[in-house]
């Protein structure tokens, strides 16, 4: 029994089948990559996990509890965090505030009416936030507007925002998309470091095979809304079905 169990999930948009009968199990404390060509349904699947979309059929369970019908913030509170393809941060706020918000969410839950408390008086939150900023080497940028940061910094900030919540499952949607090779490698190192330090499960959607093979313990190949193969990285290389999916039948 994996930490995340996806059973018979299908999703249609109008007449278009985005997902059909997907079964997937992510083991606890593993790094599981989902790869596939464009339009394979990777993003749709991810959206079904975080509550943005509701599958037409099937079930999604996280640590034995169904995720279906739950709102994104509820799913997050259960321990699922998501990193987006383009970093989703609070660009109008400072870096420090960006970090503090998930700290509050982690401590106080989805809603807390603390309109008369002062942010500056929340010592525990401040300390946690400072610690994590130090972790990601951003302490000197704490008063910067998040919008003013470089793309790489935004990515790291977003990652940090997810990590302060101590998620059990971290969903990464193309975490290195659009990055230079050096940045990609830094990200890989960062993710490896995270993995070493914490008990955390990761599900990565990725195009860059270099990233996938550097990190993943299991790989699922998705094509046309259906999982084709689920294998270890070693076994996936050269797998005929994978080649078929990526290169088209003509090549086979």
């Amino acid at each position: 029994m994996g930490i995340l169990e996806i059973k018979n999930v299908s999703k249609n948009f109008g007449g278009l089948k985005a997902l059909s009968d997907v079964n997937l199990s992510v083991e606890e404390n593993s790094v599981h990559a989902i790869i596939g060509p464009n339009g394979a349904g990777k993003s749709t699947l991810l959206n079904c996990l975080v509550g943005k979309l509701i599958p037409d059929t099937g079930s999604v369970t996280f640590m034995g509890q169904s995720l279906l019908g739950r709102k994104p913030h509820e799913i997050n509170q259960m321990g699922v965090s998501r990193v987006f393809q383009t970093p989703e941060i609070f660009s109008d706020l400072t870096v420090f505030e960006n970090i503090m918000i998930p700290c509050f969410a982690h401590r106080d839950g989805a809603f807390q009416m603390n309109a008369l408390a002062a942010v500056t008086k929340q010592k525990d939150i401040q300390e946690t936030a400072e610690a994590i900023l130090e972790d990601v080497n951003m302490l000197d940028k704490r008063h910067m507007h998040a919008a003013a940061m470089s793309r790489g910094d935004k990515r790291r900030l977003e990652m940090a925002m997810c990590l302060v919540q101590e998620p059990k499952l971290l969903l990464l949607d193309e975490p290195t998309a659009g990055m230079a090779r050096a940045d990609t490698n830094n990200t890989i190192d960062l993710l490896k470091e995270i993995k070493e330090k914490r008990d955390i499960t990761m599900a990565i959607i990725e195009h860059d095979m270099h990233v996938v093979f550097s990190l993943a313990e299991r790989i699922t190949v998705l094509a046309q809304g259906t999982p084709l193969v689920e294998e270890t990285p070693e076994n996936i290389k050269g797998h005929p079905k994978v080649r078929e999916a990526y290169l088209g039948e003509a090549q086979v």
Partner: protein, 401 residues
Amino acid sequence: MLGLNKKDFQLLLIVAVLALLAPFILNPFPEGSGLAQFNAGYPDLMQRFVIFGIFAIGFNILFGLTGYLSFGHAAFLGVGSYAAIWMMKLVTLNVIPAILMAIVFGGLFALIVGFVSLRRSGIYFSILTLAFAQMSYALAYSVLTPITGGETGLQIKATDSPILSNLADGEIGRANLFGMEMGSSYLMNVGNWLFTFNAGYYIAAIFMLISFYVSIRIFRSPFGMMLRAVKSNQQRMNYTGLNSRPYTLAAFVISGMYAGLAGGLMVAMDTQVGPERMFWTASGEVVLMTILGGVGTLIGPVLGAGMIKYMENIISKINDNILHQWFAFMPDGIEDFLVTIIHPFIGKGWHLTLGIVFMLVVIFLPGGLVEGGQRIAGWFGKGKKADAEATDTDAGTKPAE
């Protein structure tokens, strides 16, 4: 100090001092001088400054922090007013219960409207709030006449005898605070100057200071930070495990309560209500006040409210007669010429002046009047810069896209 950091406390202190000394500050010109026309230190206008200040502060908590633009906030002010006057007509002429009632009803109505309207965002939300307010206005004007008095509104009449107030037969009750009437004033003559210290104004000013203080606390609280997060990126907020709906609803209700408080104070200061208090132009006015002063800044909305109310009450009262008095020392030809030039902008032309001010401010001071203040402070060098900076905040409350 009071749970505020140094800068905020300084700002609060400045506002408190300004409010306390308003009768002096707003009456800079001696009685009988030509410029006495520009004096604003009389009870009605001073009361309006702080009451609309409260209204705008509350509106800014919603609009400035969450970015949700309500176009129906006057409805809460109106509901608060009606609640307050009924309280005075039926229960007691003491203003405190009336004001509390106004806050409660303003908040309750905001809860209902907000619960429905916050299901949508952006312009769809604005139109929903507008629709609720316009319905309230239309009904109050017509079919709800038995409750609202319709066009002629509600006043306290000789026939009203609130159960907790001992009125002589046929005496028209007056709003009071434990016996102190809102209208009572203390006059001070200093040379040619005449200063009025009005009980009602100071009571309203105290409410304004409390409101301002609470608003600073909200701005600096985790709750306030969450509201800014809503404005910045609602998607990230939801994926961070935060439920944005209760946050926005709470902000909406709080700002509805502020509006109710303003409505209650209006009744306390001047015991009457009319439905046009809820018309869309009244909702639009508070939007304009907030933007004019500076969206998302602490003091901006108060400045904006003051500016609009000053134009409405001072510029509109200048007539050609007064112009002739001003320019009487000049040769006739030049006098007439000047009067002709200025004539379109004063008296009945005050709307024109207001429109021009709106355009000038938004073109030259994109951050509103607060930005103007900052620039002026900037010219005066570093020593005074702190004051103006305190008005904006270092917590990133600049007006955002």
